[in-house]
């Protein structure tokens, strides 16, 4: 029998003997994985919602006078000096009139007495489609207001600010639940391993006396920690997946949510969470061994 076979047998035996404690630890770990990944999933989805909303985001700079081609070139330069943008479009007074008329549709006759240049010329600026641009949009608008000839800058000010603070709140919750995960995974596993060490003092003593090597005694505890991390993470993530499926199934049809398509974690994030949980639990069990296992 080689080392690993012996160690795995030993681990299996330990788990069988202390399965209630192990189960409670595993559930605690999975609960903290669930809490963390729940908020993280919302956060990620909100980010993609933000991305989608920022697709429609554009700033409109109303100008005093219609700029000539030279002026247009200068304005374009000034705007790109501040930040890279997706698109800049100049709208002449006439174009604005035509658009307005089109929007009015059947009621366009009310415009018949109006001159075609009563609407101001404007520049439509579409910022880059990133969340960063969403955060900067306020600064950007302030900058645009200082452009020569600019009268007023408009964008969906209120919703952008609200959405941004919502995302900020979410990221704080994600950080907090992440710390919760770290604390529970590490400390719960550490205390479970400590309990098992205390409960098996007699056996560990005997193992030493009959000539068990340090690694023969220690590796099973480390493996227990690894298994706790793995099982906890898988359980937590499967619970979240079930919850996710249930939610997306039940809210489909409701107006607002239909616009947004929620997605579950991609494989890389799933494996990162599992790996993180495994590492944390292993650290917990290692710390306990260092402290309480004298071999």
């Amino acid at each position: 029998m080689n080392f690993w076979l012996a160690v795995i047998r030993q681990t299996g035996r330990n788990l069988r003997q202390t399965w209630t404690t192990q189960l409670i630890t595993c559930l605690t770990v999975s609960l903290s994985v669930l809490i963390f990944s729940f908020f993280y999933l919302i956060y990620l989805n909100m980010l993609s919602v933000g991305d989608k909303l920022s697709d429609n985001l554009h700033l409109v700079v109303y100008l005093e006078d219609e700029p000539g081609p030279e002026m247009q070139e200068q304005l374009r330069l000034k705007i790109t000096q501040f930040d890279q943008v997706e698109k800049i479009r100049f709208i002449s007074k006439e174009e604005a009139y035509n658009r307005f008329a089109k929007q009015l549709g059947d009621n366009r006759e009310i415009l018949t007495d109006m001159p075609t240049d009563f609407l101001p010329a404007s520049i439509e600026v579409v910022p880059l489609r990133t969340l960063r641009s969403l955060r900067q949009v306020k600064l950007f608008s302030e900058y645009l207001a200082t452009l020569p000839g600019s009268q007023k800058v408009q964008y969906g000010q209120q919703w952008v600010e609200r959405f941004y603070s919502f995302i900020q709140l979410l990221s704080i919750i994600v950080l907090l639940s992440g710390s919760l995960l770290i604390l529970t995974a590490t400390f719960m596993v550490a205390s479970t391993i400590r309990l098992t060490i205390f409960g098996r003092q007699e056996e560990l003593e005997l193992l030493k006396l009959v000539g068990a090597t340090n690694s023969y005694i220690r590796t099973p505890f480390l493996l227990e920690g690894l298994l706790q991390g793995l099982a906890g993470a898988l359980l937590g993530l499967s619970a979240l997946y079930t919850l996710f499926q249930w939610t997306t199934h039940h809210i489909s049809g409701a107006g607002f949510f239909n616009l947004l398509s929620f997605t579950f974690f991609p494989f890389t994030i799933i494996s990162t969470i599992v790996l993180l949980s495994i590492i944390l639990c292993a650290v917990g069990s290692y710390a306990s061994m260092q402290k309480f296992l004298r071999v």
Partner: protein, 264 residues
Amino acid sequence: MHKQTGQPGETASSSRTAMIEIIKVTKCYPPNVTALADISITIASGEMFFLIGKSGAGKTTLLKLLCNMEKPSNGLIEIAGMNIHQVTGNKLAKLRQRVGMAYQDFRLLTNRTVAENIAISMEVSYRKPQIIHDRVRNLLAQLQLEDKHDILTGDLSRGEQQRVALARAVANSPTLILVDEPTGNLDAISTEQVMDLLTRCNHSGATVVIVTHDEAIYRHTNHRIMKLHDGRIASLTRGSGSEQPFSVDIPDDAERMDKSGDMR
């Protein structure tokens, strides 16, 4: 495995390597109890050696020093040429795998079965499960405990526990076997089985050190007998027995005893 050196039962001589060398060993416990004082003895490889004396004479202390459960206050102990109180880590583990010890208090895991308890000493040297299984069966048969294979050791009588502890000590075929009061709870028949097993181990090359105050087991021996008194060597004699295999005088009432040796 066993190293065959010379004839079994031979005494220490210059032609044989020493398994145990105890040089001027003293062991004191605080505040001022001297358990052992100035003990020096060489036990040859393949020898069977009896250590006798009254309770509190220091026999068990000497065994504890030999298996590195405690350190001497003074002096040197070498086993197979290694100073056991200086070896650490994996070297110590490897050394301990070659030393089988049957403790006076048995040190059995009472929540494990007889078979599991015996297997422990072989598992730590990564023996194959099949080999472990066969060896356990074989030992249990020799000690007439076949039917106890799957019983928790906590449910056994003292006499049975004692034999399980002995089986664990010899299971991994150690080169040195240390036994502390192996027959303390046993009737005459079980005592004979235990001594037969130890003699067989000795014949296949293992050095056997037996701590006892049961005169029956060393009365007829031709091996060396060291008597301790108040932590000092009181005498070192050779038994005057024949080379015959071990046997004890079975008292009449012993025949009426249960053969399994239960002394619940």
